[in-house]
Amino acid sequence: MPILDRPLVAAVSLAYLALMTAIGLWALRRTRTARDFFVAGQSIGLLVTGLATMSAAFSGFVFLGGPGLVYQMGLASLLIVAPVGFTAGLLCWTVAKRLRLLSETRPVYTVPDALLARYRSRLVSGLAAVGILLGSVAYLGAQLQALGVLIEAVFGTRELLGAWSLPAAMGAGVAAIAVYAVAGGMVAGVYTDFVQGLTMVGAALGVFYYALEAGGGLGTMTREIAASPAFGPGFLDPLGGAPLFTAAGFFFLFGVGVLGQPQMLHKFYMLRDVSRLRWMPAVLGGSQAACILIWLGIGLAVPALVAAGRLEPLASPDDASPVFLLQFAPGLLAGVVVAGVLAAIMSSADSFVNIASAALVRDLPKALGVRLPEQLLWGRVMVLAIAVLAALFALVYGDLIALLGTFAFATFAAALAPAMAVGLNWKRVGAGAAGASIATGLLLQVGLELATRAGRLTVLPPGVLPGVVALAGSFTVLILWAWVAPGPAPDDDVALVMEL
């Protein structure tokens, strides 16, 4: 990544990190029980929940990787994020209200908690907890790695510390996250996510404006790109720049897989009451769409500027955002965007550290029939332990963690989406169907992904995403199993939750 160590960028980033720490310390005084720690006391309003859900869902990838992906494969890459047009509604219609209502009758704080209440099966909730733990540590490691690289770039630590630069930068990132996550749990998490969400939206809107200005408007940019031998018309063809199976597969995986993302589902427990959901699709979908503007803006501006000869071709597609910010955005905006990227990474990391902590302190002990005393204390200890462990894991197995991080979304989707979305809306689904679906999703996703990457898989035609097969397979197993062998009726309170 190009060096971003300008005084203004570093100053804005430092101010931002200080603000996050201050929120953590403020939240410490408001965190007294495990309910406060894991679900922020269920006292959060619409705007905070909506923006916190958005910022937990969108990692730094939207700001850094997205524009790079457009540079690399053209507008087809936008199919990854295009489903945000309807995914907020999909979440609200299928799972959000059910999850919030479940927590009215039982101490349901996590996705495995909800599965335990729905299916009365410790095996099902335990399987889900294992999947969540693995995916969370992988996602977290990838976020911490990205955070370390960004801190290195902003503060120029590589020249100062040499080989120790990345470990030191990641250590600083872990410390910043740990301060507010350990101190304030989800109270801190949700309010830092809110501020982070606002920062992300502001940064994206600002960059989109400057991208349009630098490129001369959408029409000029697209005409430059279409006429360029380096990019050509295919760059602007949404279903032509990549194999159709890949482009449409992105749309399916990210459009349906959202129903299995614990970092998003977890936020619905925190809502003050169900009636706040009325405008959730507007807040969540609107803020996501605003952030995508950075993907579209830089994604089109950089190739257009390269095509016009105003910018050198990029050494790496991931340089698209940093290069644009350095050369075409005002210093203050570059600082805000870097803070926005920090925000995106930290909010995702914070969500995963809390979810992984809950999996270890609540979900796995419950699945084993054990109730851990002092959950608040252990929750804090585990937050710290998981953050350090994930950082060490990322340092030692850098390539592996990057690989795991990239397919964690699909892993969550294939393992959890059917058992949540169909299981919370159809009473015939029993523990057998749910367990088989979760196991099918996990095995297919991890097996196909590893086999594909090792070059040993020739079953799937070119362009077909392993996650798509795993997700469709998981849905198929769940529904067919439930039709053939319906489960027992759910408990009365759960049945009512499914009817309301």
């Binding site: 047009g85 219609w93 039982r106 029409g219 697209t222 602007l236 949404p238 609107g286 009512l496 309301l500």
Partner: protein, 141 residues
Amino acid sequence: MVRRVALVAVAAGSLLVLFFSLAGGAGASVGFTLTAGAIPFALMALGATRAGRLGTAAVPILALLAVVEGALVGMLLLRGRVLEPPWVGGLPLGAALLVYGLLLLPLAATAVGFALVFDRFDVSEDDLERLRGLAPGEGEG
């Protein structure tokens, strides 16, 4: 009835996605695209069904299905025809269908549609009391 139709749609859609994914080829990829695009709305219908009926929720959900499938069909038909007019809002028609038809129009339709029919899904204080009355005792949940 609606629940059954939605479930059949999700199950048949998932099976078709698997079939097309394993079959490969140009025809299968088109079938895959259109099937994959419809599944989210079958899931929406499943979640929005109350007492076997979709009621007013049918309007936004069917509208969304039509908009998204229409945009996908348009993008499929326009493959390889980027330079042909008309361009809309500075984008070739296919790209415009992606940005405006697949992202912005569904975003507005979802936000407004969900809010307008939300009363059908809202929970009254009586419902909440009834729910709390069914709460399992300590150690049962």
